[in-house]
């Protein structure tokens, strides 16, 4: 039984207080933030009771910006500076974006990731996404009247490494501590599975504004195991809008060239598409520079114009089922996620493939954020009794380029993460002293058909005969699905490693600067807050260190023990002063002094827990 703990006014907060942790669905068309309150996951409404924030950012001359509804209202009026569907540009270069010519933006064709020219200069998709994330962060902080401890942010299951890394960078830029990136369909499965206490194999069909995912999950006693995933990170409701607009233009012979016309067509197409969800006929009306475009669209015409898109989703479903080595008879239910699954032709196609009606009893817009908030709550340590465990997979194979532009796969798709896999390579020339590694992601056999993630070199290999060197290349994919690569020449011990970061030129320093520029609060406030935070953190650290020493002090030799004791004394002393920076730096020293100890304790803890499991099973 839990007892309510009430601290005296003015006293330092209880170290066991609840941490504010949220789930964020950073969507193509709209974004949401959700949190677990009193044991129930719910989406957080803004001041006007709305939970959906349109993922739209408008940059104003003079440096201001509008985010959400205010930006959306000005979409047709100021198309060039009003960025919609920015998610489609995350981690993408201009060449990757299909139909860029139909968009009202002036793009910068930067290596790695494109940029968008606005009235206040060039903006990267990471910056635009950070604006949306920061808005959600403020909403959460206002709702709870407290700082945010951290967030679980969802990404399409089919996002590759560059897209995931860009999302994480955007969160960092918005000042959000990312507890974990999780896949959107997995988040939806958590919300659905926990709500309905289901067990067995479920398919999650997630058609969002700009991305399509299919995930096959096995649910057993709180474990959500992704068996296989597939999809298309450039296929979504936006494409249905474009297909409809193109069809109408072809029927009427009207042209749309200016940014304002392109934006007006998009708005008209979306409205028409949404009407056709229930109506047999709907108007397509757009005010274009050449006059008013007015046209009647029948439901069947809309279905025909978009049939190829729906078929593409079903092809991806078939492939994922094959990867999972399962048949439709094995599937207990199909959960529909994403606003676009409201389209009747999509529901019909899914029902036909699986031979059963899909489950549509959850709000398809909210379910992803809700599931993410449940995971955030547990990761923050608010739900000690929680036994939720996610075992997700990597969506796309990872490999390196070998001779002749071929891909040697090192981590196959649908591997459970975290994972580390290695492959041995050798030199092909006598006396070769360096090896260039080109890291790629994708399913095709040729490097040119895959996404290039990083290039790095292993230098200083001692000269040997061709084929004598043994170079072990290890790919490590962490629980966020992010890759790091290391190479080790085993005869000489020469080593090189790289955290794979997309090459769009945002270094950690730049991110820190942008953070300071755009999201800092008043300086005096900040200083006072920094001191309180530094003291609270110092208290926590000292308390945690003392507890650790009591429990596992025997792991340390006398020298190690005295180093930790000294660092702890220094921190207690610094804490009584009022220099926040000093407290922080001494805290850091203590953290450093205890790092190896923490690792030893963890090792002991996990080893004994695992051994306990095995004994219990005998």
């Amino acid at each position: 039984m839990a007892l309510l703990q009430i601290s005296e006014p003015g006293q330092s907060p209880n170290p066991h207080e609840r941490r504010v942790a949220v789930g964020i669905d950073l969507g193509t068309t709209h974004s949401l933030v959700a949190a677990v309150r009193n044991g129930v996951a719910e989406c957080l409404p803004d001041g006007q009771g709305r939970v959906l924030l349109p993922s739209v950012v408008r940059y104003l001359a003079g440096g201001g910006r509008q985010i959400g509804y205010a930006a959306q209202e000005n979409l047709a009026m100021d198309a060039e500076n009003t960025i919609t569907s920015v998610k489609r540009f995350m981690g993408r270069s201009l060449g990757d974006v299909v139909g860029a010519d139909k968009l009202p933006y002036r793009f910068a064709d930067n290596a790695g990731m494109l940029g968008i020219h606005t009235v206040v200069g060039e903006k990267s998709p990471v910056e635009v996404s950070a604006e949306i994330l920061a808005t959600l962060r403020y909403l959460a902080e206002d709702t709870f009247n407290s700082d945010l401890y951290g967030a679980v942010i969802t990404v399409p299951a089919y996002f590759d490494d560059a897209q995931r890394q860009a999302t994480k960078d955007a969160a960092q830029l918005a000042g959000i501590n990312v507890l974990r990136l999780i896949s959107e369909p997995t988040a939806a499965a958590i919300a659905y599975g926990l709500d309905n206490a289901v067990e067995g194999v479920y398919a999650i069909y997630d058609l969002g504004g700009g991305t399509f995912d299919i995930s096959i999950l096995r649910l057993t006693q709180g474990v959500f195991e992704v068996v296989a995933t597939g999809g298309d990170s450039a296929l979504g409701g936006d494409d249905y809008d474009h297909a409809l607009a193109d069809w109408v233009l072809a029927q009427t012979g009207v042209l749309a060239v200016s940014p304002a016309d392109k934006a007006a067509l998009k708005v008209a197409a979306r409205a028409c598409k949404e009407s056709l969800t229930s109506a047999k006929v709907a108007p397509f009306a757009a005010h274009l520079s050449g006059g008013v475009l007015q046209f009647e669209v029948e439901q069947s015409q809309f279905y025909a114009a978009t049939a190829a898109l729906t078929a593409r989703t079903i092809a991806a479903v078939r492939k994922a089922m094959r990867d999972a080595k399962l048949t439709v008879q094995d599937v207990q239910g199909v959960v529909m996620v994403g606003g676009c699954t409201r389209m009747p032709q999509v529901q019909d196609a899914v029902a036909q493939f699986f031979g059963r009606a899909p489950l549509t009893n959850l709000n398809p817009d909210e379910v992803v954020a809700l599931g993410a908030s449940v995971q955030a709550n547990q990761l923050a340590g608010n739900n000690a009794a929680g036994d939720l465990l996610l075992l997700d997979v990597i969506p796309l194979s990872l490999g390196v380029e070998t001779m002749g532009g071929l891909v040697e796969r090192i981590v196959p798709r649908n591997q459970t993460i975290p994972t580390a896999m290695a492959q041995d390579f050798t030199t092909y020339k006598d006396g070769q002293t360096a090896l260039a590694l080109h890291v790629v992601q994708g399913e095709r056999d040729m490097v040119s058909d895959c996404r290039s993630l990083a290039r790095f070199e292993l230098r200083g290999i001692p000269p040997m005969a061709a084929g004598a060197a043994r170079i072990r290349v290890t790919f490590t994919v962490d629980a966020d699905g992010l890759l790091s690569v290391s190479a080790l020449e085993q005869v000489s011990g020469v080593e090189a490693r790289i955290d794979v970061k997309p090459s769009y030129g945002l270094g950690d320093d730049q991110i820190a600067q942008m953070l300071k520029d755009s999201f800092s609060t008043a300086e005096a406030d900040m200083r006072a807050r920094a001191l309180i935070e530094a003291r609270v953190d110092a208290d926590r650290l000292v308390m945690a260190t003392q507890t650790a020493l009591q429990a596992d002090g025997d792991l340390l030799d006398a020298q190690e023990r005295s180093n930790i004791d000294l660092a702890m004394q220094a921190l207690l002393q610094a804490k009584s002063g009022d220099d926040a920076a000093k407290i922080e730096s001494v805290s850091k020293s203590l953290a450093q002094a205890t790092e190896a100890f923490a690792a030893m304790r963890m090792n002991r803890g996990i080893a004994s827990a695992l051994a306990g499991k095995n004994i219990a099973a005998l």
Partner: protein, 171 residues
């Protein structure tokens, strides 16, 4: 137990070829419940790194244990009879003949039905070799003798992958 423990020790299982897949799956999830980095998100970067090492190790062991071919090869290796698939490629003539026949059948297949017939043939051969592995490894306790069927299975596995891909043509 430590990170160097072998897969069977890690999973608390006897070093046998025959394993119950349901037990293995349940074990995997139990172990991940204890070691997954998600359990330690509130405890800092050092804890994340250690948890990740364990979690990676558990996944690696699970991948090897759940796949009969990898499990058989691993048992050979643990028993001091490594398969050496790369350096040792000599195969008996009758096996090579059969492989060539299959490759021809794969190239000539003009329907999904033809591929399906081939797939059943391959599956049958695979099952027979797995039975041999079970006989050598579990009944006779002769791990060196299991090396030959394991190597043949590796060829068959590779062929089966190509065969799976060929089905795409007829969809």
């Amino acid at each position: 137990m430590n990170l160097q423990s072998n897969d069977f020790e890690l999973f608390g299982l006897a070093q046998r070829f025959e394993q119950d897949r349901a037990v293995l799956d349940a074990k995997w999830k139990e172990l991940q419940r204890e070691a997954h980095p998600d359990k330690f998100t509130a405890q800092g970067a050092a804890a994340q790194r250690v948890a990740m090492q364990w979690s990676v190790r558990i996944n690696e062991a699970y991948q090897r244990l759940k796949d009969p071919l990898k499990r058989a090869a691993y048992l050979c290796e643990l028993g001091g009879a490594p398969v050496n698939a790369h350096s040792n490629t000599a195969m008996p003539t009758h096996f090579l003949m059969q492989q060539m026949e299959w490759r021809e059948a794969l190239e000539d297949a003009s329907s999904a039905q033809a591929l399906e017939t081939l797939r059943q043939n391959v599956e049958h051969s695979k099952q027979e070799l797995l039975n041999q592995c079970a006989q050598f490894l579990d009944v006779q306790g002769n791990r060196s003798a299991a090396v030959q069927p394991v190597r043949e299975l590796m060829f068959i596995e590779k062929f089966a992958l190509d065969l799976d891909r060929a089905f795409d043509k007829f969809e």
